[in-house]
Amino acid sequence: MSPLIFPLIGLLVVVAAWLHYLWLMPREQVPATPLVTMAGLTLGAALQIGGLWSAYGGPRGLLDSFGPTAAIAWLLVAAGWGLAGFFFWLMTQRHTPVGQLTIAVGEPLPSLFARDSAGAQVSTDSLRGHRTLFKLFRGHW
């Protein structure tokens, strides 16, 4: 069996786990703890390294292997582990500092100024006169 099989399958599993997660995002269905995604990434990474280990007969074989096939296998593993590691790193960045708001329920929104999409100055005072859902969000991306 080609030593590329399991590194490739593992990479496809990692990519599929990522795409599943990204597919959930615009549908607002991202779970707080994305267990399915994390399991898929872990499985994919394990398939890659396990397949490479098996194909070359252990760590000595891995170190001794040198050639185009081995290089491609290592690149596949690097891509898979990179994508999986990137996701787990992103999970460490997800928390936001809450509880520091200067306003509370029952208080009026203070007069603050921003710009609309045409560049004209707008004020939070202009929100009075009708009910408003006022959202603060991270940005256009």
């Binding site: 329920v105 208080e107 999409s117 006022f134 603060l136 991270r138 940005g139």
Partner: protein, 118 residues
């Protein structure tokens, strides 16, 4: 969004984007019922105590409906926060996400509207 319109509730969304970026987003996302406000100096965001320092910033491309994002660095931006304001500008409900991926969705807002009798 349609449910908010039906109840006569306006939607205004503010971020650290520039007016130009807000214009691009309006066109890209077809935002006809949402007014985007730009706060590139973070003045409103800081005044409200909703600042997130060192947040991961992304550049995103939409492939079909799947957003593919690449981190471009760390930046200051808003903590995702949702307020319901009455006709007098008084805050009637606040929701703030301690996880930027999980924000006020339609179901949560609908429950809030029920809770405050709107």
């Amino acid at each position: 969004m349609a449910a908010l319109s039906e109840r006569g509730i306006a939607v205004v969304a503010l971020s650290k984007d520039t007016p130009e970026q807000a214009t691009l987003q309006e066109a890209r996302d077809g935002l006809q019922r949402v007014r985007l406000w730009a706060d590139p100096q973070l003045a409103v965001i800081k005044s409200l105590g909703a600042l997130h320092r060192g947040a991961v910033e992304f550049k995103t491309w939409l492939v079909s409906t799947v957003p593919i994002g690449v981190p471009t660095g760390f930046a200051e931006m808003a903590v995702p926060t949702t307020l319901l304001l009455d006709e007098d500008g008084v805050v009637r409900w606040i929701d703030q996400a301690d996880d930027y991926r999980i924000r006020s969705d339609d179901a949560r807002i609908a429950a809030a509207l029920e809770q405050i009798g709107w």
